[in-house]
Symmetry: C2
Subunit: 441 residues, 2 copies
């Protein structure tokens, strides 16, 4: 039968919630994603430090909805929208296929965001981000190869440069990966090398603002800074990165003086830009677009003049009834709440019920800083230390998709905690392993 | 103090055993490998089918020997040998470093083997092997993308070609991966798609000999064939692959007639060639070299005229006292026994003890064919079915390096068994995920 057709773009936190809350409804759902898996991005940085394997924080989208006959998953690129004809233009990721269109009655766009290099795309090759699996694996290889190269290097200056790790951006991801790299140097790899002492490694966390974790209360920012220093990381505040190349980073201080820091390994955890789909939607609907490329949606997350098109997550700002547009923090709970809201909008409309504007319920903020340390701000309740770390641990395990992944990650973390190890620190993706090492079969 | 210096090349099954059995001796050990991890190759094919993640069958070499101060691990390429000066020339994998040499008193070369495309290297890009992690991940993406493309394709002929999977070579690896792909089509992915039925998929196992598992007793070969057919795979015997390209495979039958089979996905599991290091050693010592590139060593695994140089594993044949040279089966136990033997040779010599020739104790042969089925030949005792599968399971878990990996793989297998799923079926390494899907941080 011809049911109401809902097309959801993006299998991240927002899109996944939208589909999950609609699958029991009398609608036909098409979920479109360029990847065939849902990625638990808050933990992707742990792939970069060898704490976790890709397969443990990603789960196949098809497996999630295999039992929902009214849910169809398409692995494809979104090429554009035809809002008048109510159709999405897609290009199969697999090139050998012609583009096609997917018609909808309701469209939910959850395109997310990507790291932006402040218009310096040339920096990307020197400073991988840790938001996509491939980039996180590249970062992992960079970090570990730096130690390997230092072990083989007899030049003291070069060794120092190889063992200098810089993280750009002190949001939760930057703070967490800086803490983990510091742990690698001070703890995990302590006994692994003979020529170099990993403890000679320097970890610099570079932030333009005057404190780390800008979205947290200042008191917790200070606690996080102290925790990082305690792990052996150096926090450089009020420093703007003005250049990144093979030799290292150039940073501008508050006094406009530019300082160069030599280092082989740079990890990018600074600002994000909205998905390019936001720009397309703004151009098609005349909606406002902000500097970060986010499209401004109505209080009910619909596009102006297009109540049948909703957008959510990192790619939007919401217009308040007062008129001005407010962005949301770029965290998973925002996208999940908006995804559930979008599903409710569809269900309520089908039932002819009125729809209330979206309201974000801030459940709080969490960030972990290495082993058994974290900061938490839960409805004004400010926690730090082991207890906050426990909350962080529980929340992240709980929201991991797939029972198997929860168990696997729990075991990885337990073993890492017990052995101070990182089981998954493999250097892969290297020029493919022509001569394999051992007699397998 | 200046101790006896042992250099071991290769951190596979053979090299790892050699180092493990020498680390308590009064020797300085240098382990050289191009990769920073030990790979459990007998299970690498399960990475290709999404049953396991790379981090679960590989373990960092440094982590294994972190507590052995007399063991040094170098991540480097072996460029060559200077047998007179008793030194190994290495080139750091990280290009920015100059080549250097590592001196030895005893050299143990365990370079292993690689898949050979019968002199048709151009086939490799169409038919990935599943012996190295990178290639196994490439194979995984090929297999899964074939289903994704079929789901988006409305041309029946093209769909049929996309869902045709061919495995070349019916040794244990070929048999096992053909069985797992058949399970993907018949079982794991049964409910995952809406437009296509994965059960329409064809899995062809192509073998030049007149039976599968040529190293097993014929009765078990027949059992394995029946098990494969039962899973829905088609076994093509007495067929030689004479061509592989983007359209599929060309095979020559016993009657010299050439048949073309159209299919998008081809997995290579045919013959192997010894590491190029074997050729170098043969040229330097005048030792015999066979067609598979294996160097002939003395009964005590030493190179002729060079008692201080031992070679082992897939890269050697052994000269019998009678004169003729015999190869060993290319399985892990051979390399492990020879690695332990090489260590014993070094220890006995240091103690001035006589050294007995190496003798391989064949503990038997194992191969699994999909869910709860396997064949085992243990000292003439022939088993098949669930019990053989249980032995296969136990043995493989037991020999996995790293307690953590044993637990993780056990859980993966248990969940796969219970849910008929494959949790790690992620398509990665794709053109990097520019616009990420969801709001992470």
């Amino acid at each position: 039968m011809a049911q109401h057709r809902v097309v959801v773009i993006g299998g991240g936190f927002g899109g996944l919630q939208a589909v999950a809350k609609l699958r029991r409804a009398a609608v036909d759902i098409t979920l479109i994603d360029r990847r065939n898996f849902h990625l638990f991005q808050p933990l992707t940085y742990q792939v970069a430090t060898g704490a976790l394997s890709p397969g443990e924080i990603a789960y196949p989208l098809r497996a999630i909805f295999k039992r929902d006959k009214n849910v169809r998953v398409l692995m494809a690129e979104v090429a554009g929208f035809d809002l008048e004809a109510r159709a999405v233009r897609i290009e199969p990721v697999e090139a050998a296929l012609p583009p096609s269109t997917v018609p909808y009655d309701t469209l939910i766009v959850a395109g997310g965001s990507r790291y932006s290099y402040f218009g310096h795309d040339e920096w990307e090759s020197f400073a991988p981000e840790v938001k996509s699996l491939e980039s996180a694996l590249a970062a992992r290889s960079r970090i570990l190869e730096a130690f390997e190269a230092a072990e083989l290097d007899d030049d003291a200056d070069r060794r120092r440069r190889r063992l200098t790790f810089m993280v750009v951006g002190a949001g939760p991801t930057g703070v967490e990966i800086a803490g983990q790299i510091a742990e690698l140097t001070r703890d995990t790899l302590r006994r692994d090398f003979r020529a170099v002492d990993p403890r000679d490694g320097r970890v610099l966390l570079i932030e333009a603002a005057d404190r780390v974790l800008g979205t947290f209360p200042p008191s917790l920012s200070r606690k996080a800074e102290r925790a990082l220093e305690h792990l052996g990381a150096t926090v450089l505040l009020n420093r703007t990165v003005v250049g990144i190349d093979a030799d290292g980073v150039a940073i501008k201080g508050a006094d406009d003086s530019v300082e160069r820091i030599a280092g082989d390994t740079v990890i990018w955890a600074a600002g994000v830009n909205a998905s390019a789909l936001a720009t397309q939607l703004a151009e098609l609907t005349g909606a406002e677009l902000d500097r970060a490329g986010r499209v401004t949606v109505e209080p009910d997350l619909t596009l102006p003049g297009h109540p049948e098109v909703l957008a959510l997550g990192d790619m939007i700002r919401k217009r308040e009834t007062t008129g001005e547009a407010t962005p949301f923090p770029g965290v998973a709970p925002v996208a999940m709440q908006q995804g559930r809201y979008a599903a409710k909008v569809v269900r309520d409309r089908l039932r002819g019920r009125p729809v209330k504007p979206f309201r974000y319920r801030d459940k709080g903020n969490l960030a972990t800083i290495g082993r058994a340390r974290a900061v938490a701000d839960i409805n004004g309740l400010r926690l730090s230390g082991v207890f906050a770390w426990f909350i962080w641990l529980t929340v992240h395990l709980f929201y991991l998709v797939g029972f198997q992944n929860r168990v696997l990650v729990f075991i990885r973390w337990s073993v890492s905690f017990a052995t101070h190890g990182r089981g998954a620190r493999l250097i892969t993706g290297a020029p493919s392993d022509e001569v394999t090492r051992a007699s397998g079969r």
